[in-house]
């Protein structure tokens, strides 16, 4: 049974009641199809009203759902012939970022993404998707490889942030992130970033200097976690719900601020409810976005990225 989020409780409860009723009807051999039909219609209504009116904090719950599909799940569902490539050639291999080459619609492509675990054991191995410098340096190595062989790059963003640890600082966490930003700016191949879960701060942005940024409907992208914002703003991390609203971190918010280009709709209740269906929708968006970018030459791709980020920001010029 999948983890139930507070806002969807009415839906889950009604669904359970309908199932129960079906069983009872079957066992008692009574025809209750009329009643069941009515309840199912109500369920559909309820689903629609709840899942289409999600508050920012509800979306945070979906983005953090333990069963939310990860980078490797999408790689598995969308690409063919994926070969994972390891290591930064400098220090080690960071399991919090995965990357490799694959085939997409018959074309070679490089894929890089933050990788969370689903079980505790896997999460420990993946460091909860929070990379060290070697993760970012592996990502950059694979991007430069993609550029050499002239294939597009897709980055999946899914991290609470870069790991705040002693070793990470010693090995240059700042430089690793900063280097990715400036190097991504100059890449002569199409770069597409897709936020699939939580996009947390510089650790997310280090895979995010793309020609197009797409966000799954219930993913978030922020400068600081809602808990972090709450403890700074109101000295109380339990006010995360209010902070999630104040900080404007949802896909529609980022669309309004002209930071992202596309919102990828999610299946009702969140991507974890139907990964195959979700992957299909994502594949359509990825196909269309790659096609859009295919008309740009090397110089235009760099210029396109320049203009995209140059335009982000709000101020008064007088």
């Amino acid at each position: 049974m999948s983890k139930i989020m507070p806002f969807e409780e009415p839906v889950i409860k009604l669904r359970e009641k309908i199932d129960e009723l079906k069983h009872i009807a079957q066992d008692a051999e009574v025809d209750m199809s009329g009643e069941i039909e009515k309840l199912e219609a109500r369920l559909e209504q309820l689903e629609k009203s709840i899942y289409s009116n999600m508050a920012p904090w509800d979306r945070v719950q979906v983005a953090r759902h333990p069963e939310r599909p990860t980078t490797l799940a999408y790689i598995d569902a969308i690409f063919e012939d994926f070969i994972e490539l390891h290591g930064d050639r400098l220090f080690g291999d960071d399991a919090a970022i995965v990357g490799g080459i694959a085939s997409f619609n018959g074309q070679p492509i490089t894929i890089i993404g933050h990788q969370r675990g689903k079980t505790t054991k896997e999460n420990i191995r993946r460091n909860f998707g929070m990379p060290h410098p070697e993760g970012y340096r592996k990502a950059l190595r694979l991007m430069k490889q993609a550029e050499k062989f002239n294939r597009p790059i897709v980055c999946f963003i899914d991290t609470k942030g870069a790991y705040p640890g002693k070793a990470a600082e010693e090995r240059g966490q700042s430089e690793a992130i900063a280097r990715n930003l400036i190097e991504m700016a100059g890449l002569k191949v199409p770069v597409i970033s897709i936020v699939i879960g939580e996009g947390g701060s510089g650790g997310a942005l280090a895979l995010g200097v793309a020609n197009r940024i797409l966000m799954l409907e219930n993913s978030t992208y922020s400068v600081i976690s809602p808990e972090g914002a709450a403890s700074i703003l109101w000295k109380d991390a339990s006010l995360a719900k209010q902070a999630a609203e104040a900080m404007k971190i949802t896909a529609p918010d980022l669309m309004d601020m002209k930071i992202i280009d596309t919102i990828i709709p999610e299946v009702a209740g969140g991507a974890h409810r139907d990964i195959d269906k979700q992957a299909k929708v994502m594949k359509e968006h990825l196909t269309a976005t790659l096609e859009d970018l295919s008309v740009l030459n090397e110089e235009e791709l760099v210029q396109d990225r320049y203009e995209k980020f140059k335009a982000i920001g709000q101020f008064i010029e007088n």
């Binding site: 966490q173 700042s174 900063a178 510089g202 404007k248 990225r305 320049y306 980020f309 920001g313």
Partner: protein, 289 residues
């Protein structure tokens, strides 16, 4: 003229450029207590020493205008983009009011002063962050001013030099402030593509998103002694790793030992050393200094 003389002469000149409110940065107090060794000095003596503690060599914070005065050639500085104004994109209560207070306090329109000047005769574009303005945090205006300064350096085909001092992203501007890291990076990438020189000088403190973007990717990464430089905050790291961090953790000296910096220059030698680096990168001339 010695660099100390330049400091005292330029200071009077610069003050004229940045309105009378500057008086606050030079408190009436005749005495100054070093925040590091706690020794009390005559303020004038500390100022004549470029705000370095004569006892322990602690580098006190400078305002952006003071930095201009001790770093660039006298009277050579022309500021850029003083007209850009901060808005309140997320509608945070009292945000604009806080900005107004710091504008008055610092004489700046935002937490960075940018402009064109000369360094021992070489034309350069500089950006000087000022931690007296909202802790030097980076929002849309800071990102835009730095980006335009880099673009100016690219247009003029001259070196870009930044003095960083920042607590990181400006939280009240949310993800817009995060994106300024990317915005400044695309401009730096283009400047670099032209084969132009970028010198990053990290001063106390340089942390968070500023550390994790332009501050760390200079052709030369230089720091002032003892400057705090790091990605994550010390407290956050201690809570995460549950171990005691060394006293010198995230200091300039710590970063130098871990291969993250090219050099640490004392404030007294910063101008000469950086000018030498610039001279060694002059185009189409003999490079002997």
């Amino acid at each position: 003229m010695s660099i100390r003389d330049i400091f005292s002469v330029n200071r009077k000149k610069q003050r004229g450029n940045f309105s009378a409110t500057k008086e606050k940065d030079f408190p009436e107090d005749l005495m100054t207590k070093c925040p590091e060794c706690r020794k009390i000095h005559v303020t004038k003596a500390v100022e004549q020493n470029l705000k370095v503690c004569p006892n322990c060599q602690h580098h006190l914070k400078l305002t952006a205008q003071e930095r201009v005065a001790i770093f660039l050639d006298e009277g050579s500085f022309t500021s850029l983009d003083d007209h850009l104004q901060t808005t309140n994109p997320l509608g945070f209560p009292a945000y604009v009011e806080k900005i107004e207070v710091d504008k008055k306090k610092t004489g700046l329109n935002e937490a960075v002063l940018t402009g064109v000047g000369t360094l021992q005769g070489d034309k350069v574009v500089v950006a000087i962050m000022d931690s007296h303005f909202r802790m030097g945090s980076m929002g849309s205006v800071v990102g835009e001013k730095i980006t335009r300064a880099i673009e100016k350096a690219t247009e003029l085909r001259v070196p870009f030099i930044i003095f960083t001092a920042s607590g990181g992203a400006r939280m009240q501007e949310g993800v817009l402030s995060l994106m300024q890291m990317a915005k400044t990076s695309v401009a730096l990438s283009r400047h670099s593509e032209m084969g132009l020189l970028y010198i990053s000088i990290l001063t106390h403190p340089t942390t968070g998103g500023v550390s994790a973007s332009f501050a760390s990717v200079g052709d030369f990464n230089i720091a002032e002694p003892q400057a705090l430089i790091g990605f994550a905050g010390r407290r956050v790291i201690e809570q995460t790793v549950r171990e005691k961090l060394p006293d010198d953790f995230q200091t300039a000296e710590f970063l130098l030992a871990h291969g993250q910096l090219d050099a640490i220059f004392h404030r007294h030698e910063m101008r000469d050393k950086v000018a030498t680096i610039v001279k060694l990168h002059r185009k189409g001339e003999a490079t002997h200094v």
